[in-house]
């Protein structure tokens, strides 16, 4: 059996549903997994509060939230002065150096260098005064000069600096909590060169000890971590109300037991990679993993589908269920530049609407998501301003309403779907998407439209989208920050492919509205505009949707203080502070589980198999 000499160490065993991050260099990363893995080692200026729901930002490497000027364009930052980089051979004498203002700007400027092949430039594009010019200039030059000045970036001193924005972009604050803007030391980048991707040096609570590509990563505690502490008990408000949603439950679950303790509490984190879900689930069940997101296909094993409650056997073992609604958008999209299905003519619009009316989201939800997902109209998910009440709008084209769809087809000149060309549908090959495509094909067949399914790998899909070759496609969008603007920008004309507007939707009215809301702070006026934009999208139907998921996490008793989130491409469970481990040893095959858990396992089969 495996060696896990825990010798008093507190070790976390966590799954990651991928073959592993590609790179730990923040500017090169893009995926959720890159983000998760990086977050052990690197830190950003801001972070989301650990226990607060809905999420709220707080300073991390800063002493306080940035000061924003009246016009919303000038940001002023104060760095903590007790933050040191990891001890590493790239520093003189191997001692980690103190973090200074210079480091943050250096890290931002790395996004601009062509050499780094940054996937993150879009975050900074057209945002900071003089940054775009800096990028153009330096990439032209022979040598990229990181010391060259940028107009909008000003160092005041060691620990104070200012950033001047072109416009009062509200989202800029959120950007500062995204891992792409994490702070890296210049010494390490220059010392390790290409290897830097696999040899991270940051300010975070953990050090990367081992990385078995494709199978596991081990992080160990950073002994020189600065004085970050576990969040303190905010207490009930004076009027007895909760300071945030779910505070009382958190308190009851003992999330505040460790308040004020120095972080990190854990000595070692073992990330295990899983490409297949079956082994991950099985490993959780023998308690070799401390938590897992419940794969949809195993939901009914752990939960009673009818009540969506955890089964008794699981609850009895101290396993905790944490449903986490994702802020996301699962949709089908049209390429608006497609000859047959795109376009802004009424006929073309009706055709798209008819297609939308044929798609049965409920059935999909039932077959693949255990009926757990939320279905809503328009592109704005539930927790954000602009989301329709109850998720539904009477004028939306939500299927299945075949009668209406047929009528629209007649109106569009395709009675019974006759004359509609084959609808070529691009979707990624992963897991159950193929089955889902088959379902959609069936749905469309009912109104006489033939779906031509192209199962492709993800890179081919993105390629097809970029080249505007995919007339119809299935995708999902996970928000980068909790603001509907992040969803509405998907339809902004100038962001057409190869940028994020995969629909190539381009309506001047819409674009104008977007330019307005981009620089607005939250307000009812802004929400109104959001709704207006949402309805335009619904009517023109470049997108068919929508669905958002709830992720069900199961957490073993051993793992305390763990409150998962999953949104904004953040970690599934915020790792940095985490979690007390109870001293209960890992009992890999809890005998308590075996008796009851066979309930879903027909007895007649048990005999055959042994």
């Amino acid at each position: 059996s495996p060696s896990t000499e825990d010798n008093g160490e507190k070790v976390l065993y966590l799954p990651m549903e991928t073959a592993g991050p590609n790179s730990l260099d923040p500017v090169k990363g893009s995926s959720q997994y890159d983000s998760r893995a990086s977050s052990y080692v690197y830190q950003t200026l801001l972070q989301y509060k650990y226990l607060h729901r809905p999420l709220e930002l707080e300073p991390l490497l800063l002493t306080e939230m940035p000061e924003v000027s009246e016009d919303g364009k000038l940001y002023r930052f104060k760095l903590r002065q007790d933050v040191f980089f990891h001890d590493d051979e790239c520093f003189p004498e191997g001692k980690g150096r103190r973090l200074v203002s210079e480091d943050f700007f250096y890290s931002l400027k790395r996004m601009a260098s062509k050499k780094n092949q940054p996937k993150s430039w879009w975050l900074m594009a057209d945002t900071i005064v003089g940054f775009d010019e800096f990028k153009a200039e330096q990439n032209e030059a022979n040598e990229f000069d990181y010391d060259a000045p940028v107009e909008g970036m000003k160092i005041l001193n060691d620990h104070e600096f200012e950033i001047q924005l072109k416009e009062p972009f509200y989202r800029f604050t959120y950007t500062l909590a995204m891992f792409q803007t994490a702070v890296v030391p210049r010494e390490a980048v220059e010392h390790y060169g290409k290897k830097f991707s696999r040899h991270p040096v940051g300010t975070g609570p953990f050090l990367l000890k081992e990385w078995e590509a494709g199978s596991s990563m081990t992080f160990v505690k950073n002994p020189n971590y600065w004085e970050e502490t576990y969040p303190n008990d905010p207490g009930l408000n004076k009027d007895g109300s909760e300071p945030y949603l779910g505070y009382l439950r958190d308190k009851e679950l003992g999330f505040y037991q460790d308040a004020g303790k120095k972080l990190p509490i854990i000595d070692r984190v073992e990330l295990k990679m899983f490409v297949q879900k079956q082994p991950m689930w099985l490993k959780f069940r023998i308690r070799e993993l401390d938590y897992t997101a419940v794969p949809a296909e195993n939901f009914s094993e752990a939960y009673i589908k009818r009540t969506q409650k955890l089964r008794k056997e699981y609850a009895d073992m101290g396993i905790r269920s944490e449903p986490v609604p994702l802020v996301d958008l699962i949709y089908y999209g049209f390429n608006m530049e497609d000859e047959d299905f795109g376009g802004y003519d009424d006929r073309q619009k009706w055709l798209r609407q008819a297609i939308s009316l044929a798609i049965d989201w409920e059935e999909r939800n039932e077959a693949f998501y255990n009926n757990l997902n939320g279905i809503y109209d328009g592109p704005i998910p539930a927790s954000l301003a602009g989301h329709p009440k109850n998720g539904s709008l009477p004028y939306a084209y939500r299927g299945p309403d075949l009668a209406r769809a047929r009528k629209l087809l007649v109106k569009a000149g395709y009675p019974e779907g006759k004359g509609v060309p084959k609808l070529v549908f691009f979707t990624s090959r992963a897991a159950r998407l193929a089955e889902m495509a088959e379902m959609s094909k069936r749905h469309l067949a009912k109104i006489g439209i033939e779906l031509d399914v192209r199962l492709v790998d993800f890179s081919t899909l993105t390629d097809a989208l970029r080249n505007r070759r995919a007339p119809f496609f299935g995708l999902s969008w996970v928000s980068d920050y909790p603001d509907a603007e992040n969803f509405l920008q998907l339809f902004y004309g100038p962001f057409k492919s190869p940028s994020s507007n995969n629909f190539n939707y381009d309506r001047p009215e819409y674009n104008k509205l977007y330019e307005r809301i981009r620089v607005m702070s939250p307000s009812s006026e802004r929400t109104e505009l959001y709704e207006q934009m949402r309805d335009m999208v619904i009517e023109d139907a470049p997108m068919i949707g929508s669905m958002e998921r709830t992720r069900y996490f199961l957490i073993n008793k051993r793992l305390q203080n763990c409150k998962p989130i999953e949104s904004f491409k953040l970690a599934q469970v915020p790792q940095r502070q985490i979690a007390e481990i109870s001293q209960e040893p890992i009992n890999r095959c809890g005998p308590t589980l075996s008796a009851g858990s066979f309930t879903t396992f027909p007895s007649s089969w048990r005999l055959c198999c042994w």
Binding site: K277, Q278, W281, L282, P295, E297, N298, S300, E301, I304, K305, R306, T307, K309, K312, E362, E363, E366, A367, F368, P400, D401, L402, A403, R404, R429, A430, A431, R432, A434, E435, E438, M439, K441, R442, A445, K446, D452, V453, R454, L455, V456, D457, T460, R469, T599, T600, F601, P602, S604, W605
Partner: protein, 396 residues
């Protein structure tokens, strides 16, 4: 040719082998089914269409209460409920259908009443901790089932039969008939098997015999070709070819053609080797030399005198490749590179794997696919064994 074979010693040997006869009967059965599929006895649509609630188990398993609840909830009840909420319930109701099941011939108002009643019971049921051992809840469940059943129009005789057949082996996660899909896959499997085996045997035979017969640069070329091909790991080659097809835009990739090509590209090698060896042996034989002295051209000698005498090898190779193709299809489909837009055993196994069927104890889908495939492959295995024995002069 056939009649000759039937008279031959080998055929007699073959027909004396009882297991071979059984195997041939089984294969004939499969072929018949495949033929029936060609005439759309079960069409592609039948495989794609929903015939019942999701993941209904097949004939011999008693359903547990939780599942019964789910089945009752997800059959017509849910659909009717939603249809009634639509702006035009009449029209919407007309669309409601689950396989052969349709909404009972009632007015929307009547239906609404039934639905309301059901919803009330459902609310009660939802509250229950567990349905398993609570007799009160069980009876409630029964009521729920019977009420929801009222929404369904009774089936006519033949429809009821077809409904029963469709549900015989249960349904998959999307409510499609496992039986239909499994049976339809026979056609796909046989198509893939026969076409790839045929083509690769053909390629292998032509190249192999040409190489063996002519020797010289032809031989060098063929040998070079197959060493090149075989020095790439088989599965990797399959995958690379399959991927290469993915990238093309043509309609071809939705057919079985990429699968055929991927398989043929790797499968011909074995046959080619064997045939080449055999041809080199036959070339020395005196009847081939006699044919040469008679002045026959090399093509005539090759096709009339050499190739027919490798036919036993071709036959054996054919059956082995057929098995190989059917088995590899499963793996390719699992990797998402195999069959598209129609069911196949590979896809069924893939779906079952992706759906966690094994873990939830739902063995119907994977079981059906495996069993159907197992029997066919077993039959072919036995047959090819018997063929091998029959053509082995040393074997008695």
């Amino acid at each position: 040719m056939l009649s000759r074979f039937l008279k031959s010693r080998e055929a007699k040997k073959l027909f004396r082998d009882k297991s071979a006869i059984v195997a041939m009967v089984v294969i004939a059965g499969y072929l018949l089914v495949a033929l029936a599929m060609m005439f759309d006895v079960v069409s592609r649509d039948d495989c794609a269409n929903v015939v019942g609630p999701n993941s209904v188990p097949g004939f011999f398993l008693r359903e547990e209460p939780e599942r019964r609840y789910e089945i009752a909830r997800t059959s017509l009840f849910g659909k009717v409920k939603r249809a009634l909420e639509k702006s035009d319930p009449e029209a919407a109701l007309a669309e409601v259908q689950l396989g052969k099941l349709r909404v009972a011939d009632k007015t929307p108002a009547e239906l609404q009443a039934i639905v309301d009643e059901a919803v009330a019971i459902q609310d009660q049921l939802k509250e229950a901790e567990s349905l398993d051992d609570d007799p009160e809840m069980l009876s409630l469940l029964e009521t729920f089932e019977s009420i929801t059943a009222e929404l369904v129009a009774p089936l006519s005789g033949s429809d009821r039969f077809m409904h029963g057949v469709a549900l015989l082996l249960g349904t998959d996660a999307q409510g499609r008939s496992i039986l239909f899909r499994g049976v339809y896959s026979i056609k796909v499997a046989i198509q893939i098997g026969v076409v790839t085996a045929l083509v690769s045997v053909l390629i292998g035979a032509v190249l192999g015999s040409a190489a063996g017969y002519f020797g010289g640069w032809v031989d060098a070329l063929v040998v070079w070709l197959y060493t090149t091909f075989s020095s790439i790991p088989n599965l990797v080659l399959l995958v690379v070819i399959a991927y290469a097809f993915q990238a093309t835009d043509s309609d071809v990739k939705d057919t079985l053609l990429p699968v055929y090509i991927a398989f043929c590209a790797t499968f011909w090698i074995g046959t080619c080797r064997v045939v080449r060896g055999e041809t080199m042996k036959l070339k020395q034989l005196e009847y081939v030399q006699a044919a040469k002295t008679a002045g026959f051209g090399s093509m005539r000698v090759l096709f009339r005198h050499v190739l027919p005498n490798t036919s036993h090898l071709l036959l054996i190779n054919f059956s082995l490749l057929l098995i190989g193709a059917i088995k590899s299809e499963v793996i390719l489909s699992y990797l998402g590179l195999g069959v598209k837009s129609q069911p196949s055993w590979g896809i069924m196994i893939r779906d079952a794997g992706n759906n966690g069927d094994v873990m939830t104890g739902f063995f119907w889908q994977i079981g059906t696919a495996t069993a159907l495939m197992f029997v066919l492959v077993l039959a072919f295995n036995i047959l090819s064994d018997a063929l091998q024995d029959a053509f082995d002069p040393k074997h008695l």
